[in-house]
């Protein structure tokens, strides 16, 4: 019964993973036909590179901040969508759009929205007098603004996914539990903190786990918006691995960089699955 699943995991996860370990320990180049074993040379070379250290830090910031925002905003949005209101189905459809649209197309749209010359976002901010007439933020040109921009676009993309998962969790909470608490005089915040969030923890864990994996391994948003700039301020491990391995031709170097994603993801997965198991709702 589980053979198809095992084959699927072996073919699409096991084989590429083993291949990347093999490449990382070799001197593989983009056009090499034979590879020699070089031990940990590529790992050592990556660790010696200041760009790698910067990319590692950026990856952590990008992942932690974007996931915190996704979970908080996803919970707020799901709470709103759980209530009955006029046009709810259309609203739900619109919220899902960023998730169903191809990521590269959506990101190119944001690239133009935040363009240095023709940004409609800046234009609107000026028209609303939120920024001065002589102020024109360079969203991808300043270190902090660039990181904030890539995080914001990533949150925009992942928010529907988290919202749908949390919404499913909210609807699975028995209505009687909330009603009983209400009868006992519990207010909104009290119910949220003592009933809803504890019951939602397993589902939030799942949303968080997926979100962290998406954020940690994604390079599309950064590649399209900033290509890691300015001055590597938004370079993350996934994009650095691409630049080194594919554009630079150093396959082994790129594979070594990408392997650094693995231990972090394993730890995150184990920790979150343990939390989920402990708080499982029966």
């Amino acid at each position: 019964m589980i053979l198809p699943a095992v084959l699927y995991v072996l073919a699409l996860v096991g084989f590429p993973f083993c291949l990347s370990i093999y490449l990382a320990l070799s001197d593989a180049k983009i056009a090499s036909s034979t590879y020699a074993f070089v031990g940990l040379d590529n790992i050592r070379s990556a660790l010696e590179s200041p760009t790698f250290v910067k990319a590692l830090g950026n990856t952590l910031i990008f992942t932690v901040v974007s996931q915190a925002l996704v979970l908080v905003l996803g919970k707020i949005l799901a709470t709103c969508l759980a209530k009955p209101f006029f046009g709810k189905s259309i609203f739900r459809f619109l919220i899902l759009l960023p998730w169903v649209a191809p990521i590269s197309l959506g990101t190119i749209g944001w690239k133009w929205m935040l363009d240095s010359l023709y940004s409609p976002v800046n234009w609107v901010l000026q028209a609303l007098h939120i920024i001065g007439k002589d102020t024109w933020p360079m969203w991808f040109g300043e270190r902090n603004l660039a990181m904030a921009s890539v995080i914001a676009v990533h949150v925009w993309r992942l928010l529907p996914f988290a919202t749908v998962i949390i919404l499913a969790g909210l609807t699975s909470i028995p209505r009687e539990v909330n009603e009983a608490a209400e009868v006992d005089g519990a207010g909104f915040w009290s119910r949220e903190l003592h009933i809803v969030l504890p019951l939602l923890r397993p589902i939030l864990t799942v949303a968080g786990l997926f979100g962290i994996i998406f954020a940690f391994t994604d390079m599309t948003v950064i590649y399209v918006l900033t290509r890691g700039g300015p001055a590597q301020a938004t370079q993350v491990l996934a994009s650095l691995a691409f630049f080194t391995g594919i554009l630079g031709g150093d396959l082994a170097g790129g594979a070594a960089i990408s392997l650094f994603l693995f231990p972090v993801l394993v730890v995150v997965a184990v920790v979150m699955l343990q939390i989920a198991r402990r708080t499982e709702v029966t």
Binding site: D27, K29, I30, A31, S32, S33, S45, E48, S49, P50, T51, S116, L117, Y118, W136, M138, W139, F140, G141, E142, R143, A146, T226, R227, G228, G229, P230, A231, Q232, F242, F243, T244, I246, L247, G248, G249, D250, A252, G253
Partner: protein, 441 residues
């Protein structure tokens, strides 16, 4: 070179046919491969040209006519500038793709998977004159004596400037010091910024190398083995660009992609950029009044010399796994032979890599219908232009240095105030040495 029109049964085709028949009996895989080898389609993958008229000519006139003449269907896939390298890597990984693949910068890292183009270069030199020095150094590996690509064209990278605005401050961007001084004055007087990219993209890679060379700096030695980026000249060049950024530019230069500086200049926002002539050509079409005020200039001179980088060096490779390698090579030879038309179709963007493949180049430039005076200066550009890896050859190590943007990052760190020019040059040296060590094992 084989003529794909040959229809007689030769000894070669007979042996090939019987061989294929025998092999087909043994393995179904061979049947597929044999069928591919008989394909009558030539597949070309190359960039989407910045001058749309060139693609119009290439796709709708040249390729169909050449295909009809040679009994081959020519299919052209256009790939965006930023995706060319990734597409090439995917084709090599799959060992399947186009017969002819056009790169915008030389790809020595792919030498092991491409056919030597020495025969094409020899034939073209015989027919169309000597291969330009910059194209030769960028596509030839002196160790293996192999041309891993053949360049049909290279693209000059002149300064574009607003003559009216520079006139107001009584200057011309003749040297890098003039560029700095003039830009500062213009910013003070009119608020208009200068536009030299300090970003992880192709145009920045080229422009900043030109600045380094004009200051006497170089990334490697002539033997292409020793890293030489950490020098006093490099530090001075970084300081100059940092000063231009602080005095006359905005943070947008850190965000640019290859088309951003074109938009910056064409929109009328900026007064100086270094770019291929696609910027001024676009301006002529979209903003003719502003185009009358725009001028082209030789590359700015530095303390050491006046130098530019080629803006692009277009070169074709034929993969070892190409289905129609001989037809692909013939196509390149014939295309180079048609460069009079290609040069005109590109509106002077594509400069010929073979000296005689365009007749009376200077005369054609001086006869431009819109702005002959400006385009005439391009006639001497070859003597100022170099290539990634100058004064050595473009090697695989240099290819990685180029495509991982070591030089733009070196400038960006200082302009952003993260490092001193000295420390940034040291870091670039360490980055380059690490890359060279990997490739030179």
């Amino acid at each position: 070179m084989a003529d794909s029109r040959t229809s007689h049964l030769t000894r070669r085709t007979f042996l090939k046919g019987t061989g294929v028949a025998t092999a087909a009996a043994v393995s179904p895989t061979v049947i597929v491969r044999a069928a591919r080898a008989k394909s009558d389609t030539l597949k070309i993958g190359q960039w989407t040209h910045f001058v749309p008229a060139f693609d119009e000519w290439f796709d709708k006139k040249y390729c169909p006519e050449w295909g009809a003449k040679n009994g081959v269907k020519v299919v052209v896939d256009h790939i965006s500038v930023n995706d060319l390298r990734a597409r090439a890597a995917a084709e090599v990984s799959a060992k399947k793709g186009h017969d002819l693949f056009g790169f915008l910068d030389p790809p020595p890292a792919y030498e092991n998977v491409v056919l030597p183009m020495n025969d094409v270069v020899t034939e073209c030199e015989k027919k169309y004159g000597k291969l330009a020095g910059l194209a030769q150094h960028a596509t030839f590996n002196p160790k293996t004596k192999k041309y891993f690509a053949v360049s049909d064209n290279w693209v000059p990278d002149p300064l574009h400037y607003r003559k009216d605005v520079w006139g107001e401050v009584g200057m011309k961007p003749d040297t890098w010091e003039h560029v700095r001084e003039g830009s500062r004055k213009i910013k003070e007087k009119t608020g208009m910024p200068a536009g030299f990219g300090i970003s992880q993209e192709l145009d920045t890679n080229m422009m900043l190398r030109a600045l380094l060379w004009s200051y006497g700096a170089q990334e490697q030695d002539e033997s292409s083995t020793k890293v030489m980026i950490n020098s006093k000249a490099t530090v001075e060049a970084i300081k100059l660009m940092t000063a231009i950024y602080k005095e006359s530019m905005t943070a947008e230069v850190f965000t640019w992609d290859p088309s951003s500086n074109n938009r910056f200049f064409v929109s009328g926002k900026g007064h100086v950029i270094q770019n291929a002539i696609s910027a001024i050509r676009t301006m002529e079409k979209q903003n003719p009044e502003a185009a009358k005020k725009a001028g082209l200039a030789l590359p700015a001179a530095g303390p050491a010399k006046r130098m530019a980088s080629e803006h692009l060096l277009h070169c074709y490779v034929v993969w070892q796994f190409a289905e129609n390698p001989e037809t692909a090579k013939k196509f390149v030879v014939d295309l180079i032979g048609s460069y009079n038309d290609a040069f005109l179709a590109s509106e002077f963007y594509n400069f010929p890599s073979f000296s005689k493949s365009v007749s009376d180049l200077k005369g054609k430039l001086a006869a431009d219908k819109v702005n002959p005076e400006e385009y005439a200066i391009l006639g001497d550009f070859e003597k100022y232009s170099a290539y990634p890896g100058y004064p050595g050859h473009t090697t695989a190590a240099m290819d990685e240095v180029f495509n991982t943007f070591v030089v733009p990052d070196m400038f960006a760190r200082v302009a952003k105030g993260e490092q001193s020019a000295e420390d940034s040059a040291k870091q670039a040296e360490a980055d380059m040495k690490r890359i060279f060590a990997k490739w030179n094992k």
